[in-house]
Amino acid sequence: MVYLTRKAEFSASHYYHNPEFTPEENQRIFGKCNNPHGHGHNYTLEVTVRGNVDQRSGFVVDLKELKDIMNREVIDAMDHRFLNKEVADFKDRIPTTENLAISIWQRLNSKLNLAELHRVRVYETPDLFVDYYGEA
């Protein structure tokens, strides 16, 4: 079993707001992140897949195929977007880094046939990241 990690970068804006909270609660819980006009990050995405090395190709997964899936399912959908308003995943879900990692997992997991998805890691900044392993 070998684990392979592919990185990608995207930039997007978001804000944190729960319509069920009062304005005061939103402000207290989310602080500056509650600014309704949003703010942005340069996100780094790391996708780790695992599998046995194919005898003929020497690959766990065809990297080009993985890259294409990541581009199609994640980068094209999220890069240079306002996540709250332009990405359907966040219509009823706050686009925190946690939810971003879960959403990216869900987008990729159904599309990966050759290798098993092991981990999705999303860096919101170099000093803050979330890992999701598909756990309930």
């Binding site: 729960n18 819980i29 989310f30 602080g31 939810n99 170099p126 803050l128 309930a136």
Partner: protein
């Protein structure tokens, strides 16, 4: 759904690696330059991983403000810009980064209750790093 959130902090401190249980020669041979009696310093990078169910109301494992304020008060202010050997925590143990890692994990485990404390990772320099998950295997 369970997620793991990691936040990185920085602090600078000095230490000297020296054990009273060893002779001067032994200390010198085991710890080398790190045994210099006046100590030396590092910029430590501290990565703290907490885990838990993502709260559907906030989208968070825990509020970063709670984690940041705890870490600043209980860890960065305690260890930052200190000579580690002078601290109560290191009167009986050598302030290696292994021991620092275990110590920081203990502070979190005892005092931080907003999420499950998963792991502590400390980089002493860009070339050395140490991880502790309370004796559990480190998840890759």
């Amino acid at each position: 759904m369970k997620a793991y959130l990691t936040r990185r902090y920085w602090f600078s401190a000095s230490h000297r690696l020296h054990s009273d249980d060893m002779s001067a020669e032994e200390n010198h041979s085991v710890y080398g330059k790190c045994n210099n009696p006046h100590g030396h310093g590092h910029n430590y990078s501290l990565e703290i991983t907490v885990a838990g169910q993502v709260d559907p109301r906030t989208g968070m494992v825990c509020n970063l403000m709670d984690l940041d304020s705890f870490v600043h008060k209980e860890i960065l202010e305690r260890f930052g810009h200190q000579n580690l050997n002078t601290l109560r925590e290191f009167q009986r143990i050598v302030p290696t980064t292994e021991n620092l890692c275990v110590e920081v994990y203990g502070v979190l485990k005892t005092g931080f209750h907003h999420a499950q404390v998963d792991k502590v990772r400390v980089e002493e320099t860009m070339l050395n790093s140490f991880e502790y998950a309370g004796g559990e295997a480190i998840r890759f």
